[in-house]
Structures are given as structure tokens and as C-alpha cells.
Symmetry: C2
DNA sequence: ACCCGCAGTAATGTATACATTTTATACATG
DNA sequence: CATGTATAAAATGTATACATTACTGCGGGT
């Protein structure tokens, strides 16, 4: 759902990709109605693949079907965005608990620990500055590894679904932000939570793992709320903020 | 998503409805590939609304897109079905916790208590037999009221999504079953949990509400597992069992 | 026996014409 | 002034022809 399965071979895949970019980049604001004809013309394709692309993005949760037909770019209040992050925490918590209770292989644990080491390496010797790009990358890897540890297809699927909302992705708020001090501290806390989470899973402490994952998401949630989306005309680097209207 | 918003006015809505029935009734087994042309011919419509209907059912989670195009009826292992019920419990638990922590109106509490009374009335004086039909109906009402108490659109939406899997619906296993004694007792337990859940929400005991809702779903989960789906050629009355293959 | 490639067939992908419904506007009416 | 209604415009719904891609089975090769 999230990955680029789009081989970009046919018009529909290309259209889906393009449209998704428009939405995530904020080229079309939340609440905007998408007209088949307009979309088709803009992408220089016929209405059929345009419609199909919109259907797929509706499946992804980026668009909404209107009762009378057609699609609207889904819009989210700040509360919705915060709730989406919290929900990710709930589901990651469930995945973590299931992984802990069912047990995971040595190889999976080791792979996760390697990611943790990579994340540790992103913090400089002085403890002050850090490599945001790499951190963001390995952070995504860590969260993917967590999902893979849960053997429930159903839980994995719903988790992927929630993560496909751009601002609910684990790495959504990991970017170089202007007011860096507090944010930098929150990353240190987050990384500590990563370590504890891996440990809890390894020790098969299900409840602990669940609660750490939840709290970990709330760290991200706090970053969203302090970012004050609509006010400061926040960095466009942050994906999907155009969908947050209220 | 679950409700019949389908006005049945146009071909697509009709096709969506028909196809959904086929799938839930088990007329097409899980894993079956649905060919546009075959579906279109069977419903005496053209390929376009047939395709559109399949896209919508994919959105609902009843169909899956194949990589090379086209759709397959989604199939679930028994574990998947059990996980889906557990996931419903997780999400209902989250809804219950949020409702408890945020607080709900007097009117909402009273409405839920009325439903509880209606459910109580389904148990006969003797405590032995009961009205399954009514119980099933009011049980669905109770669970809907619970969802409504949660003010998070995001959580509500995902919960509705999970509930749209036919066997994950709260009332899925509330039917007159042959081996009635143990099942009947489980309904008594379930009703007790309903009472406790309402009380916890009213008292704003978030964690308690969450845990009761989880445990409540596990009661349903146990009913699924004892039903031994593939073995006894279980009652066709139970919806969506045809999707459970393993 | 197994693998590979090459049709032929059957499916999905795409464009487009036409049908139907929705929506916007102007106007009449209480 | 508000409300409802008629009507035109513009959107989506539907069917279908044609294009392209995926599947299947056969035959040749090693």
C-alpha cells in the first residue's frame, strides 16, 4: 500500500503516483473536489484511468467519495492528525505486544539491534547536532522491522494503512526544524524508547512493549502539536500538511 | 461503509450490493479470481460498473487487487479471522478509553443504558433460553453506541472498517448454535461485560473501559475458535465463513 | 524429463461517445 | 427576503470498440 508497487508502466499507475504527489505536496488543498475531466486533461489521459487512479487513492485514504459521485481530497483537522498518530501508536503497540508474546527469531532481534546502532550513530559525539536525513531513514527501517515482527497479517495491514496517511508516518516530523533544541531532545527520548522497545520484545514483556510503543507515538504527536501547523506557515518539507485544514 | 448508503439507483451501486452478497453468502469462495467480463455478464451490465463495484469492495476489504490487475476474493485463515476480532477489540477498547477520558453526555449514557435493559430483557425469566434475534439486534445497537461515544473520526473510521469484515462484526456469532449450553453462558458473560463497560465509561475509568472492551472481543473470538469452522460444515447462517479457507 | 520460447487466446487497460444525474443560475411565488 | 422550481450547463454513469498486457499450452531444444 505504501511501497511503490507502481511500475509506472501504465497510465493508471502513473496517474495514481502523480495525483498522490500533488496531494502530499499540497498542490491541491484538503477539501478540494477532483473532477475527472480536469484531472484527465491535466495528466493528458482519458477519464477512465483518471477515475481509476482516484479510486485507488480513495482506498489509500487520501481521497473521499462524495455521496453524489466524484472525489474530494480528504481533509483533516489538527485533532484528526493527532488521533492518526495516536492510532498508529495503538497499532504499533499491538504489533509490539503480539511480537513479544509470540516471540521473535534471533535474526529479527539482531537486525533490529543493528538498526538501533545505526540510529545511535546519527547522534554526534558532542551529543548536540545530528544527521537528520540518516536518522529519518533508519527510523523508518526500525518501524518497518517492528511491523514485520508481528505475524498477524490483519494487524500489519491496518498499520500500513494508517501509516499511509502522510503526517502519521513515523518519520513525518523528523526533519531539521527551526526551533531545534526541544525537538532535538525529543529525538533523544525517542531513541531511548526504541532501545527499550527492542529490549521489551526480546524479553517477551508484552504489556511493556505495548505501552512503550504507545508512548513513543505520543512523542511524535507532541511534535505535531508544537509545530503549530496553520500558524507559522510551517516548513513545506513536512509532508501532507496541506491536508490539515482546521 | 457498513450501512446501506446504496440507493440502488444506478448500476454500480446495484452491482456492489449484489457482489457483496455473493461474497458474504459464500457463493464465491475466498481466493476466487473475479473476471470483469464474467461479473458484468452475470449482472447484465457492462464492464465499467462491474469494475467500479469491484474497486469499491476492494476499498471495503472484501476483495484484493492482484498485482497484474484484476481482483481476487480475499481469503482469511482462521487466525486472520481471530486476529480481526481481536483487532476490533483493540479499537473498541481505544474508543471506550477515549470516551471515558473525554467524557460523554448524559443523553448518550442514558441511551446506552436503555440498550442494556433491552438486552437484559432478551434473557428469559428462567435464565435458560433467550431471544437470539433480538439479542443480536440490540447487541449491534450497543456496539454502535459505543463507537459514537468516541469523538475521534479517525478511530471511528478504522473501527467501522474492521467491523465491515463479516466475521469480525460484533453480532457475527450471535445466532442459535447447536451446542448451546457453553455458548449460552458466553452470552451471559458478554452481557455482564456490556454493563461493566457502560459503568466504566460513565465513571470515566479509561483503562478499565479499554480492558473490558478487549476482553469482550475475546469472548467473541473464543466463540469463533470453538465453532471449528472448516470441520463441522458450520451453519451457513454465519456470515462470511466462506472467506475463511484454512 | 525439464526448460525455454513462441504463438494464440483471453484478460485488463484505455479512449470515447452517449445517457443520466447533479449542480448552478435565474426567475417566479409565498 | 426567503424559498422553491424550471432549465441549462457540467459533471459523473454506462456501454463499447480498440490497444495492450498477461496467461496458457504447445512444440522445440538440451
Amino acid at each position: 500500500m505504501t511501497a511503490d508497487t507502481e511500475t509506472r508502466t501504465n497510465q493508471t499507475s502513473r496517474a495514481t503516483y502523480e495525483l498522490r504527489q500533488w496531494i502530499i505536496n499540497g498542490d491541491v488543498a484538503g477539501g478540494t473536489r477532483l473532477r475527472e475531466i480536469a484531472v484527465a486533461e491535466k495528466l493528458k489521459i482519458s477519464r477512465t484511468p483518471a477515475r481509476e487512479a482516484m479510486a485507488r487513492l480513495a482506498e489509500e485514504g487520501l481521497l473521499e467519495r462524495m455521496g453524489s459521485g466524484g472525489f474530494v481530497v480528504r481533509s483533516f483537522s489538527i485533532r484528526d492528525a493527532a488521533d492518526a498518530i495516536e492510532l498508529r501508536g495503538i497499532l504499533e503497540g499491538t504489533a509490539a505486544r503480539m511480537a513479544a508474546e509470540e516471540g521473535v527469531s534471533r535474526a529479527e532481534i539482531d537486525a533490529m539491534k543493528e538498526t538501533l546502532a545505526n540510529l545511535d550513530a546519527c547522534f554526534l559525539e558532542t551529543g548536540e547536532l545530528m544527521d537528520f536525513e540518516k536518522y529519518s531513514e533508519f527510523n523508518a527501517v526500525f518501524h518497518d522491522q517492528l511491523v514485520q515482527m508481528c505475524k498477524s497479517t490483519i494487524v500489519r495491514r491496518e498499520l500500513e494503512r494508517v501509516k499511509s496517511l502522510p503526517f502519521a508516518s513515523p518519520s513525518a516530523f523528523v526533519h531539521d526544524q527551526p526551533g531545534g533544541a526541544a525537538f532535538h531532545r525529543s529525538l533523544i527520548v525517542a531513541q531511548q524508547q526504541h532501545h527499550e522497545l527492542a529490549q521489551a520484545i526480546e524479553n517477551r514483556e508484552g504489556t511493556r512493549a505495548e505501552m512503550i510503543a504507545r508512548e513513543h507515538a505520543r512523542t511524535a504527536r507532541a511534535n505535531l502539536l508544537t509545530a503549530q501547523i496553520p500558524q507559522t506557515g510551517v516548513e513545506t518539507r513536512m509532508p501532507g500538511v496541506g491536508l490539515i485544514v482546521n
